[in-house]
């Protein structure tokens, strides 16, 4: 669950939180592209280190580190697989460049995960919803997204209440073999589903009663405006992309092993 911990939003105000989510997303895509462009460890390391100022500015270090920890399991797996395949295919040889390669692949994965983590950690669901609304995604999707996020804590509480109610009738969720344990959850799932259906009905009634569908040209109380910081981030992203492409084509990057 700790990977998801790193993706959860906290209500904090920082210059990073206040950046336009669309520009932040463009930045993340930029990092994504650059990470794919390189397979050498040095540029990837630089890419990884570039995230740190954002993390620190946004004061989300603790959660970010937690998501790193969560991703570490998969990262180790990737590293081992990479080393393993080169080991077995090169006739049981374990050479330094191969290890460095495996490390680079692992780092690439980490960079991808971590850039998304920073994005989700510093973007409130409100902002995300707003960005969705202002992009040309049909309103129904943006609405479904924000409503889902809004009800996550409600559903979590309800699931707990339902479990309590059934435990109070003697249901022992932890008892029995695997099959029995799965069946134990039926008295928890059914009320949860029925409640979700009932809730949707009530929500639909409330939506209709507030003129849902009155016009295709919906307006919005909020407006996402681009500020200086956003243009700055956009410039940085373009800069990184340009430099990365140049280096990729015209500069030969040394490996660490060659430097040693």
């Amino acid at each position: 669950m700790s990977v998801f911990d790193g993706l959860r939003f906290r209500k904090v105000s920082s210059p990073i939180h206040n950046l336009d989510p669309r520009i932040k997303f463009v930045y993340v895509i930029g990092i994504f592209v650059v990470a794919i462009l390189f397979f050498q460890i040095i540029p990837l390391l630089i890419l990884f280190l570039m995230q740190l100022p954002f993390v620190l500015l946004a004061r989300v270090q603790r959660q970010w580190l937690r998501s790193l920890r969560g991703a570490s399991f998969l990262a180790i797996f990737i590293f081992v697989v990479n080393v393993g395949t080169t080991y077995f295919t090169s006739g049981y040889h374990l050479a330094a460049p191969n290890i460095e390669n495996a490390a680079a692949m692992t780092l690439r994965f980490v960079v991808l995960v971590e850039s998304f983590s920073v994005f989700f950690l510093t973007t409130s669901p409100d902002h995300l919803g707003l960005a969705l609304e202002e992009s040309h995604v049909p309103y129904e999707f943006a609405f479904a997204f924000t409503t889902a996020v809004r009800f996550v804590p409600v559903l979590a509480e309800e699931a707990q209440t339902i479990m309590d109610a059934q435990k109070a009738r003697g249901l022992e969720l932890e008892k029995g073999g695997l099959l029995k344990r799965i069946r134990n959850y039926v008295p928890v799932l059914i009320p949860l589903i029925v409640s979700a259906i009932r809730r949707s009905l009530e929500l639909a009634e409330a939506m209709e009663s507030r003129a849902w569908g009155a016009t295709k040209k919906r307006t919005n109380l909020y407006l996402l405006k681009l500020h200086k910081g956003d243009y700055g981030l956009l410039a940085i992203t373009i800069g990184i992309l340009v430099i990365a492409v140049y280096i990729h084509f015209y500069v030969s990057i040394p490996t660490i092993t060659s430097l040693l």
Partner: protein, 273 residues
């Protein structure tokens, strides 16, 4: 007997919901726990069947600490009826719903059959034995939830906000039902903010505020104490409201029963003649 000894409880998000609560509930008592939302009422009663275990202090049910027992074992004697019946109902028929707990507690099939029939009868649900609980009305579903808890005949009954969404008739039936439980020497604990309902039952009342008990006594005294009620955001029952305004006539202030009110007023008129 239910006993809480200076218990404290904090939720995982570090919010302390109970800040040193001590209480003793004797067998056969009828107790109403009142207070604002967030005062800790539901948190407290969830300790009585082990759903929650105190972070500090002890909770003893018939002398046994709840930390030494599972919820299922404690539930055998302490039945908990939750506020929303839809959080419990999941079976294909009312019959199966009522039998659910009995099966969990290991009752024999013949005994289960008898108990189900008895519970259906008690709550006038016999005609719905083979009906799907989802097809019943709100009030009927509440009765099914109640029946499914009564079926295993716990010695203590905890009712969490039983009057929400109920009309006058349904509340009256509930009141009669609680009286019936009392004649069977069951302990009844109800969490509620319905002052009129409590005024009609006049049980022992415990008032909570911000995780502490601020008052514990006879319903009559607590429900007519404006300072106390102000403290815990509850309104005076209507009869008490009337008598508060009649102070200048020398009337007592602790009146919540309508018949008592009538007698006092008529006597006063007699004395005038």
């Amino acid at each position: 007997m239910i006993e809480a000894q200076d218990i404290r409880y904090a939720y995982p998000n570090k919010v302390e919901a109970l800040k040193g609560v001590s209480i003793k509930i004797e067998d056969g008592e009828f107790l109403a726990i009142m207070g604002q939302n967030g005062a800790g009422k539901s948190t407290l009663v969830k300790h009585f069947n082990g759903l929650l275990k105190p972070s500090q202090g002890k909770v003893l049910i018939d002398g046994v600490e709840t930390t030494k027992s599972s919820v299922a074992a404690l539930a055998r004697n302490v039945g908990f009826v939750f506020q929303n019946p839809d959080h419990q109902l999941f079976s294909e028929t009312v019959e199966e719903e009522i039998a659910f707990a009995l099966k969990n507690f290991g009752f024999k099939p013949e005994v289960i059959e008898d108990r189900v029939t008895w519970a259906l009868n008690l709550l006038s649900l016999t005609q719905y034995r083979k009906t799907s609980p989802f097809l019943l009305s709100g009030g009927e579903r509440k009765r099914v939830a109640l029946a499914s808890v009564l079926a295993w005949d716990p010695s203590t009954l905890i009712l969490d906000e039983p009057t929400i969404g109920q009309d006058h008739e349904q509340k009256e039936k509930l009141r009669q039902f609680i009286l019936q439980m009392q004649t069977q020497k069951k302990t009844v604990v109800t969490v509620t903010h319905d002052v009129e309902f409590v005024a009609e039952c006049n049980p022992r009342v415990i008032l909570m505020k911000e995780g502490k008990i601020v008052a514990d006594g006879e319903g009559k005294e607590i429900l007519t104490n404006p300072a106390l009620l102000e403290l815990s955001s509850i309104v005076l029952p209507q009869i008490a409201q009337v008598f508060t305004k009649l102070e200048s006539l020398g009337f007592p202030k602790d009146v919540i029963d309508i018949y008592e009110a009538k007698q006092i007023i008529l006597k006063a008129k007699e004395r005038q003649r």
